[in-house]
């Protein structure tokens, strides 16, 4: 009985998978996107990029949920956060995940960059992926900065004031930078609106396609240090060394030809001359 149900379920799901594959090619696409050979050495370090992707996905999901209750006005922002924390079901969990995964996101990004830097993973042909990654880092920093003010409590408020005043020290454009962030020339309702717009729409909209580009470039060139690439590079290195050795050997032969060789050639040439 159980066995028959199991067989039928397997057949049904197999049918659905085949049907989808035949029409969209999604299964091969997923296989192509999800499976990536990773070197045996330091395999756990290669999960750092995935950890970043995971935490940033959490940010997107919990951020969308928080928007159901958050109100971006100076009067209501703190109250709405308080409502989320105290009255909304699982509000503490949702906002806690948003808060803590934001913190861990920064840590993971630092570790991920360190891993890429120290393993030399930014070298050709992956330079552009490093550049895209740095842009992503700057966008995440912008998200952290703008998200802090949205709570509209003393902590976030003064941290943002300090951050905006740091921006006001930029050479030549300092005044423009702080007026852009303030939405005027004083902290007020416009400031909160702008930070909200930047945090919720501008930067996520910029970050999403760049994550796509980052992943595309990763899949295009593969993870750096895969077994294949490693042996390939090692073989190339050995080949080059062999050629260098050979070239050196040849030069030696031309310049300082051993006595035996010289006598040999002299004999041969002399013989040939005699022959003429």
């Amino acid at each position: 009985m159980i066995g028959r149900i199991r067989t039928q379920t397997t057949e049904a799901s197999q049918f659905v998978v085949d049907w989808m594959e035949h029409r969209t090619g999604i299964v091969t696409l997923m296989e192509h996107l999800l499976y990536e050979p990773v070197p045996k050495r330091g395999a756990w370090l290669y999960t750092l990029g995935s950890a970043v992707l995971f935490t940033i996905t959490l940010q997107f999901l919990t951020g969308i949920l928080l928007l159901f209750y958050y109100v971006p006005t100076t009067d209501d922002a703190w109250n709405s956060v308080s409502y989320i924390m105290n009255d909304a079901y699982f509000g503490q969990v949702i906002r806690g995940i948003h808060y803590w995964s934001a913190n861990f996101l920064m840590a993971f990004i630092g570790l991920h960059m360190g891993q890429v830097f120290f393993s030399g993973g930014y070298k050709a042909p992956r330079e552009l992926n490093w550049v895209v990654g740095v842009i992503l880092l700057l966008l995440v920093i912008g998200l952290s900065f703008t998200g802090y003010l949205l709570r509209w409590d003393q902590d976030g408020f003064w941290a943002s004031v300090v951050g905006m005043k740091i921006g006001s020290y930029s050479p030549f454009v300092g005044g423009y930078v702080i007026h852009f962030l303030l939405g005027g020339d004083a902290v007020g309702p416009a400031t909160l609106s702008r930070f909200f717009a930047i945090h919720v729409w501008l930067l996520p909209a910029a970050i999403a396609p760049l994550i796509g580009a980052h992943l595309y470039l990763l899949r295009r060139h593969g993870v750096f240090g895969s077994e294949f690439e490693y042996t390939d590079r090692l073989a190339k290195l050995h080949e080059r060394q062999r050629l260098e050795d050979y070239a050196r050997y040849e030069t030696v032969e031309d310049d300082g030809e051993p006595y035996v060789g010289r006598r040999d050639r002299a004999d041969r040439e002399g013989y040939e001359r005699d022959d003429e």
Partner: protein, 237 residues
């Protein structure tokens, strides 16, 4: 070149493309950019300010401490986006928001202590004496004459509590007889002069301040900012 000559772009094509391209480009980019940057256009280009430019009452000068500074609250109305008066006054009976937004600053008032020896920014603070409270205040707290008001104003420090480094609120430390910024440890003396820490200058002073006959201090939102910068600029947040 040979490739291009096969399908040459005529002069009129080029001009048409360039002119149309410029028009389309302007149509597509100017509105959104100006929309997002409108605060910069308003404040930096047109020179408007969100903060009200009128006089605001602070407190009676007789309440200022004899030896120690006292802090008071001062609110300047701000007109920003949906908080603008003109927008709120439209359709007065429609029950929409009429909240008045204000920039509330703390203001430190103290009597000037004479500077005995000028310090140098970045290496040492001023050497100062005891704060000198005008003797008129022992007799009366209001109804000052013109000369008495001048005397009071020349003796009064009217300081913003916004640290000159990055804008955190400073507070008076009674033990050290110094203002301390909690963020990065900027230190100032009772006159607001630099004593230690990262601030590049002393505390900001309100440059428009006056005592009126009722004995109260009134200030405008304007500070002693380096020449060349707008007095309303938000370096005092």
């Amino acid at each position: 070149m040979a490739e291009l000559q096969k399908d040459p772009m005529t002069r009129s094509d080029f001009l048409g493309f360039g002119v149309m391209g410029a028009i389309m480009g302007a149509l597509l980019t100017i509105p959104p950019v100006a929309f997002v940057l409108s605060p910069i256009i308003k404040t930096d280009v047109l020179g408007d300010s969100d903060v009200g430019t009128g006089w605001e009452e602070v407190a009676s000068v007789s309440e200022v401490g004899v030896e120690e500074p006292s802090h008071f609250k001062v609110s300047f109305p701000i007109q920003q986006t949906y908080g603008e008066r003109a927008i709120q006054d439209e359709f007065p009976n429609s029950g929409k928001s009429t909240k008045e937004f204000a920039l509330t600053n703390a203001i430190w008032l103290s009597w000037k202590a004479p500077v005995k020896e000028q310090g140098r920014q970045g290496s040492s603070g001023d050497i100062i004496g005891k704060p000198e409270r005008p003797s008129i205040l022992d007799e009366k707290s209001e109804g000052f004459t013109e000369s008495e008001r001048k005397e009071i104003m020349s003796r009064l420090n009217v300081l913003s509590n916004s640290c000159a480094h990055l804008g955190c609120p400073v507070r008076w430390m009674t033990d050290q007889q110094l203002y301390l910024c909690p963020c990065h440890g900027g230190l100032y003396d009772i006159n607001g002069g630099w004593v230690g820490g990262p601030p590049p200058r002393g505390m900001y002073r309100y440059i428009d301040a006056e005592v009126r006959e009722n004995g109260k201090l009134y200030v405008k939102h304007a500070f002693d900012i380096e020449p060349g910068l707008d007095k309303q600029q938000p370096y005092v947040v």
